[in-house]
């Protein structure tokens, strides 16, 4: 990831600091020891020519999300380990084929080409659900239960879940995360995957999603601002991927866990926390733990880069007070385990 060619020197030293960064954007890594689409495309760590360190600080080593995501879950009707292997090979070949395709310029009119990017930066990431190893009803269809990654499990029911919501109903054998810079590319891949790869793959659910170009999410706060990245330390490489130190089955090394959960946002409630706008914003900020305008954390202390990393409250310090189970800002500060949150901003 650290050697990923992202922004390159394509502008002169005379470019103004306020000028937007122009393409080429970071490219996915199609030949890496990791699956593509997990921590790539990402901005390079090296500061590109023509850009100041200060200007580039919030990009360095960070993921540059594609604009559109399609998430699909699927079950397999294979009946043996050998069949499973065959299907996984087919899927691998399919993914590499689609990711290798270039936008076709055949039908471009003379004045069009600049509207067509060199790449839609398609990534197809394939994940195994816990069901693949052991179904909810206790069936180990492929005899691979003992190979299950230690923490792989179906989504838990959580306090506050919608009435009647049962995560078990959404559990699947496989999950596909298809990301690109254009929705038509995702739709194409989804159709091919649904209809043409193998009839033993049954797509159960499909969610189309996008990122807002203004980096905000619908609650009005900047999204993913506190995500880990590979600068100033190699946190992303270090924390996202399973290494031999994790005591996972050997085949998992270099892989990662994906937690997929759709969260329903009750915007009318959120937008009416108070009748007074200022008070409403204060309440929203207290829940999120950040200043809505600047995105800066509300913690007493802030860490680089750019003071955007909160220093977690110290529950023994009276200035912070005890942590509260009702505060999102407190809840995300669980220190018992190393939690990493690689946000894929998804909204139906």
């Amino acid at each position: 990831v650290s050697s990923n060619p992202g922004l390159t020197s394509n502008s002169s030293n005379s470019r103004q600091l306020s000028a937007p960064i122009e393409p080429p954007l970071p490219r996915p890594l199609y030949s890496s020891i990791h699956q593509t689409g997990i921590t790539d495309p990402a901005w390079s760590i090296d500061v590109p020519d023509g850009v100041t360190e200060e200007e580039y600080e919030r990009y360095r080593g960070a993921i540059d999300r594609q604009g559109f995501v399609t998430i699909m879950t699927a079950d397999l009707s294979a009946s043996s380990k050998a069949e499973l292997e065959e299907l996984l090979r087919k899927l691998t070949n399919f993914a590499y084929f689609e990711m290798g395709r270039k936008p076709s310029e055949r039908r471009m009119r003379p004045l069009d080409p600049q509207r067509l990017p060199k790449s839609y930066r398609l990534t197809i990431t394939i994940g195994f659900g816990s069901n693949l190893f052991l179904t909810e009803k206790g069936d180990d269809r492929f005899g691979i239960r003992s190979m299950k990654p230690s923490s792989l499990k179906r989504m838990l029911s959580l306090p506050g879940d919608a009435p009647g919501f049962s995560p078990a109903d959404t559990a699947s054998d496989l999950i596909f995360v298809v990301a690109s810079d254009h929705p038509y590319v995702n739709i194409h891949v989804a159709r091919r995957l649904t209809k043409h790869v193998d009839p033993r793959i049954t797509v159960k659910h499909l969610a189309q999603a996008f990122s807002r170009p203004d980096l905000l999410e619908f609650l009005g706060f900047e999204d993913g601002t506190d995500n880990i990245r590979n600068w100033p330390q190699d946190d992303m490489d270090r924390l996202v991927y399973i290494t031999e130190r994790e005591n996972e089955p050997e085949w998992c090394i270099g892989g990662s866990y994906l937690v997929y959960r759709k969260i329903q946002e009750h915007l009318p409630v959120w937008e009416n926390l108070s009748h007074h706008r200022e008070e409403m914003i204060k309440k929203q900020e207290a829940i999120i733990g950040r200043d809505k305008e600047t995105g800066l954390p509300l913690s007493r202390k802030k860490d680089p880069p750019d003071n955007r990393t909160p220093v977690f409250p110290d529950p023994t310090d009276p200035r912070d007070g005890p942590l509260s189970a009702d505060s999102c800002a407190d809840l995300i500060q669980i220190t018992l385990m190393e939690l990493t949150r690689t946000v894929r901003f998804v909204a139906d």
Partner: protein
Amino acid sequence: MHHNTVRYWQTISLLPEKHPDRPSPRACRLLLRLFDKWKTKPLWLEEKDTGHLFDGKSVDEIKRLSSLPMAVRKGMAIAKMLDVVTTKEIGTRAGTFIIDPDEIIVGCLPPFAVGQGKEVVRYLTDQERLTAALNFLNEWSPMGHIVPDHGVVLEHGINGLLAKCKELESAASEEKQKIFYQSVIHALEGVLLYAARFADLAEQTAERFTGESRDNLLAVADRLRHTPANPPRTFIEAVQCIFLIHCALHLTAEIVPLGRLDQLLDVYYRQDIKSGLLTKEEAQEIIDCFWIKLDETVILNNRHAEDRFTFCDGALIGMKGLSNFDQGGLLNQWMQQVTVGGIKATNKPKAEDASNEVTFLCLEAARRLPLNSPTLDLRLHKKSPKSVIKAATRTILSGGAHPVLLNDDRIVPALKDDTGGTVELKSARNYACDGCFETMFAGETEFSFGFVPAMAALEKSLNRGATIGAAGAIHLRGNNDGWRTPPAEEIHSFDELKAIMRKHLLLDCHRFLNNILNDYGGKEAVTPSPLLSVFINGCLETGRDVTGGGSRYHLFSPLMVTISTCTDSLYAIRKLVFEDKKITLSELVSCLRSNWGANPIVIGQYVEPERIKMIRQWCLDLPKFGQGKPEVDEIAWALISDFNDAVKATLKDPVHHEKMEQLRQRYDHPDQKFEILIAPGVGTFEQYVFNGGFWGASPDGRLAGQPVASDMSPAPIPQDQPAAVETGNGWKHLRSVPLVNGLRSYNNDVINHLSDGAPADFNIREDFPEKQLIEAIQTFADGKAGNVLTFTVANPDTFIEAQKNPEEYDLLRVRMGGWTEFFIALFPDHQSQHMRRPLYVASGEDKK
């Protein structure tokens, strides 16, 4: 109290680091992974993995092995099992050979739950197998259920024991003794291999890590290189040693508990604290990690259950019969049990309290770790420190249904003086539980039990010697199972009825003893226990296996079951038939034969359906045992007294003298007199559902085939009757009883006769006042309640919600005697039983 794992983590993670509710970071990491394991199906050894001792051998080699004494082959099979489970391919696939880099105590227990069965390495020849099968025995027949003395290996180490065995083998005068020692040597060598393999694995795993994990794994390897081969030197080595031996026993089909852990570890704790090698916090972490290791194979989803039973698993001496899946009972019961507290095992006239710092470490682990295993048993007595009672109260209120409480002042004298033989005082004082709740001399006895159902005696008394459960189209009057006694219309008083019951009870006690005497020693020829024998005093000394008279004591328990159901039924008969004369006994018997009107094919007096309905309602409305009503409770005490008299009369009856004498001649040893000891008790265990299936409708209003009261617990509300009503402000239980009243029902010295234990399981609310619970436990410790007492902490609403949303209640635990279970993992009839047990409330609350 935490209802689910998510809420648990939310709470724990918001606590400051040194908060007493928050385990150490290491324990938290292990706990997190443990919860993940619970959500999946435990890994199992397959039959092909374990196979037969002869597998892969040449014809000549099989011939040679076949010619070896069977006991020697059993020792070799133990060694093979410990080899197989620590090979990389099988061990990884079956989950028997895995180390987590955070673990400080290593080893892997198999998921051989009492309710799911087990796998073994077979060793019998075809001919031996057939002979064994005719006696309902096979290689799966070891039962465990006795308390090994881990002190033996703590003192000598395996190397020391091996040396001793080799010396004894050379000196042995009888061939049979030599064979026994050879079998033990094979088994112990297997344990050495098992420890060495784990040491190797720790070292290999360490190579993948740096820093703290690497250092930890290397330290683990160092400890395993030293112990159990040699006596442990430190607290952590002692815990590791005990756990590894425990794993080896369980892997080789000996489903046994851990014994008096605080007594075993106290010397190491004090020594390490004194030398500065250990802090109290570090010791707590070690115990916490040990606790976590004992709970790794939980299933929360009963779809993940296995049925690995063969037709004669865990065979009980004297109970020749088929073994089957246990009606969904004991899915998460592996007999991982720890006994703490009580009095010291000495012969001093004055009893000394035995509780120590390790007692508190165990109580604290049981309080703050939301586990179901190990079951913690706390022995109490009149002079138990208040601090122990307070700690026990806090542990109970944390929701884990731990600890089980036992009363030494009731149990010790009975074990010492009331078993019909000679028992040393310090042995009685050293009792521990067998994995469930049965009390026995730790590391000194074999054990088996049989059932003497009170309901059988009652049914036969009412029904001319036939049980009522089978009345109807098949057996008409019922199943003839006892003396032909007078019909109901000829029984004119309650005393007459009781006299008839005593006759039936006596016959059933004779049958129990007769079966034991006929069957004794049979297991030795099929399924000896050389490894377990090492840990049972008397076996190495006499050169005999524990299955062949080797242990110092030979303890057997006739267990009277269905006491509460029978008491409630007898009270209904006395009140409605003989006192109020609202119905006749014949009329009542017809009601019962008809299953309260549900079964039309009935002989005897015809009773109109409407009248049957009315009579049943009268029966249902009567007070029950366990509510502190003297008029009901006195019937229970008389029943227990009659049972005890019958047991004593049985032991003295000349009808058994010849067989007793034969056993004495066979097993008497110059240094060890052979005596059959009888400790009566109570014990449906998990079989209150299964057991209820045998009995017809009962005069307490229960329908035929429905579950009966568990152990000595008050009976549940019958399953066809409402147990709770919605009040608009939550659910109200329809049988709410002040706890102080409930305890009064058990305040009678007749219970001392039940020296094998008579658990009363009480449900209390989650907000039960701590002060009142301390007082209740003090009352129990003072000897003003029963001899075994347990508490399940759950509101009626919690049970109802848990049935609707199981995942949100994945930490809700309930207890029945020695069995703690996750409520959501229970089969429906079991869940219903727990919901229908009376709710014991704080004083005054029943009137709300």
